[in-house]
Amino acid sequence: MGVLDGIGAYFILLYRSVAKPEKYSMYWREILRQMNDIGVGSFGIIAIVAVFIGAVTAVQFSIKLLAIGTIPMWWMGGIVRDSTVLELAPTISALLLAGKVGSNIASELGTMRISEQIDAMEIMGVNTRSYLIMPKIIGSMVIVPPLVITAMFLGIIGGLYAGTWGGFFTQEEYIRGLQDQFNPYYLTVLMIKSVVFGFLIASISCYKGYNVKGGALELGTASTDAVVMSSIAIIISNFIIAFVLL
C-alpha cells in the first residue's frame, strides 16, 4: 500500500507541477540554470566514464574474438558501436547522472523544504510545484540527450584507441566495422532512452526532495532514495524501451 501511495503521490505532484508560469522569463532563466548545472556540471565525469567503458568493451571483446579465431577483427567497430549506442552510452550515463544530479536535486529541494524556503515562496504567491519542479524536468530532458550523444562518441573513440594501442585491430579495420551495417534507427532508440531517463532522474529526485519532512537525517534518506529509485526506474524503463522498440 505504501508503494502505491508513493506512486500516486508522485503522479499527483507531476500533474500539479504543470501550470501556467507566473512569469515566463523567470522559468526560462531557471531552465537555463538547470541545464547548466546538469550539463556542464556532469560533462567531466560522463566523458571519463564513456571513454573507459568504450575502451574496456573493445579490449574484452577483442580478447574473446582472438580466442575464437574465426571472426574477423574488423567486426570490433560494429560491436563497440552497437553496444555503446544501444546500451552503454544511455544507460551508464543515466545511472551516473542519477547518482550525481539526482542526489543534488533531492538535497537542494529538501534543504529548501526544511529551512522553510519553499513555504516562503508559497506565501509570496509562487506556485512552488511548478517553479521548482518543472524547470528541472525540462532542463534534464533537454540536456541529457546531448550528454548521452557525447558519451556515445567518446565511448567509440575510447574503443578505437584501446584496440589500436593494444594491437587488437588497426584504425582502418575499426572504421570499416563502424560503417558496416549501421542502422540509424538505433540512434532514435538512443534519443528516446535519453529523454525518458532525463525525465525519470529529475522527476523522481524532485518528488523525493520536495516531500522531505523532518531534518538532516530525513534529508539524507531522501537523497539516497532519489538515487536508488531513479536507478531502478532507469533499469526498468531501459528494458521496456528495448522490448517495445527493438
Binding site: 512569469k23 534543504t111 522553510e116 509562487v126
Partner: protein, 252 residues
C-alpha cells in the same frame, strides 16, 4: 483587516484550535501569544493558507481564504508578506537577489526601478552595504532585516511574523520589534506577530491574543495585560519572579 470566525483545526484525534474568533485591524501590530503547543503556529499557518481549518472563516477584508482555490490563494498571497522564524532566505541568492525575487516574479518593473525599490527596502530596515552578501555571511539580526525587507518589497497589506525575535539578543530583538511596528504604521499594514517574547508583548502589542490549549483565553492591549485578573495569563506572562515584581510595581 483580518477577521477570523470560529476556527477549528484538528490533526487526527487531537483538536489543536478550538473555536477561535478575533479581529486583527490594519495599521496595528497584533500579537498572538501562548505557551509552546498552544496552537500559535497552527493558527498562523491557517491564516496564511498553508493549513485549512475544518470549520470557520478567515476573512481578508471580507475575502474568505478558506473558500479559495489554489489560484485565488496565490492571488491573495501577493498581498501578504511573511517573516519566518528561521528567516527562510534563499541561500543560493545574495541579499539583493533575495529581496528582488518577488519583484522579478510578480512585477514588470525595469532593472533600475527594481534596484531602487530593493535599495529603498534595505535602507528602510537599516541594512546598507550588504547587497552582494550571501545569507551565510550575515548575522542573525541582519538576516531578520533582509527577511523583513523581502516581506515588504511588494507593499503587502498583511504582514505575518513568526517568532521574529527567536535567536536574537535582547537589544537586536527590540530593534526588529520597533522596525516591525514602524513599518506597520507607515504602510498601514495588518501585522500579526507570533511570539512568546515578553518585551515584544509590552513594546509593540497594540492588540494581544492569548491562546491556551487551543482556545482564545484572553485578548486586549499590552497596557491591559498589567491589570488583567486572568490567572492563566498572569502565570504565563509574569512567569518569572522579576516580572511578578515588575507587575506589582506597575500596579502600585
Amino acid at each position: 483587516m483580518i477577521e477570523i470566525k470560529n476556527i477549528n483545526k484538528s490533526f487526527g484525534q487531537q483538536q489543536v484550535l478550538k473555536g477561535i474568533s478575533t479581529v486583527f485591524e490594519s495599521g496595528k501590530c497584533s500579537l498572538i501569544i501562548g505557551r509552546s503547543g498552544s496552537g500559535k503556529t497552527v493558527l498562523m499557518n491557517c491564516l496564511v493558507g498553508l493549513l485549512v481549518p475544518e470549520q470557520g472563516q478567515i476573512l481578508y477584508d471580507s475575502r474568505d481564504i478558506t473558500k479559495m482555490d489554489n489560484k485565488q490563494k496565490q492571488g491573495l498571497r501577493k498581498e501578504m508578506g511573511m517573516l519566518f522564524q528561521k528567516n527562510a532566505l534563499f541561500d543560493s541568492m545574495t541579499v539583493e537577489q533575495n529581496v528582488q525575487f518577488p519583484l522579478d516574479m510578480f512585477t514588470d518593473m525595469g532593472i533600475k526601478e527594481k534596484q531602487e525599490r530593493v535599495n529603498f527596502c534595505l535602507s528602510r530596515v537599516s541594512l546598507v552595504n550588504a547587497n552582494a552578501k550571501f545569507p551565510s555571511e550575515l548575522s542573525g539580526g541582519m538576516m531578520k532585516r533582509v527577511a523583513l525587507a523581502r516581506a515588504i518589497v511588494l507593499n503587502p497589506k498583511y504582514l505575518f511574523c513568526d517568532e521574529p525575535n527567536s535567536g536574537l539578543d535582547p537589544k537586536t530583538a527590540i530593534v526588529i520589534d520597533e522596525l516591525i511596528q514602524e513599518i506597520t504604521v507607515e504602510f498601514n499594514i495588518t501585522t500579526i506577530v507570533n511570539t512568546h517574547d515578553m518585551n515584544s508583548v509590552m513594546g509593540i502589542g497594540d492588540k494581544v491574543v492569548y491562546l491556551f490549549e487551543g482556545m482564545k483565553n484572553w485578548e486586549g492591549s499590552s497596557s491591559e495585560i498589567l491589570k488583567t485578573d486572568s490567572d492563566n495569563l498572569n502565570d504565563f506572562i509574569f512567569a518569572s519572579k522579576f516580572y511578578k515584581e515588575l507587575r506589582k510595581a506597575a500596579l502600585k
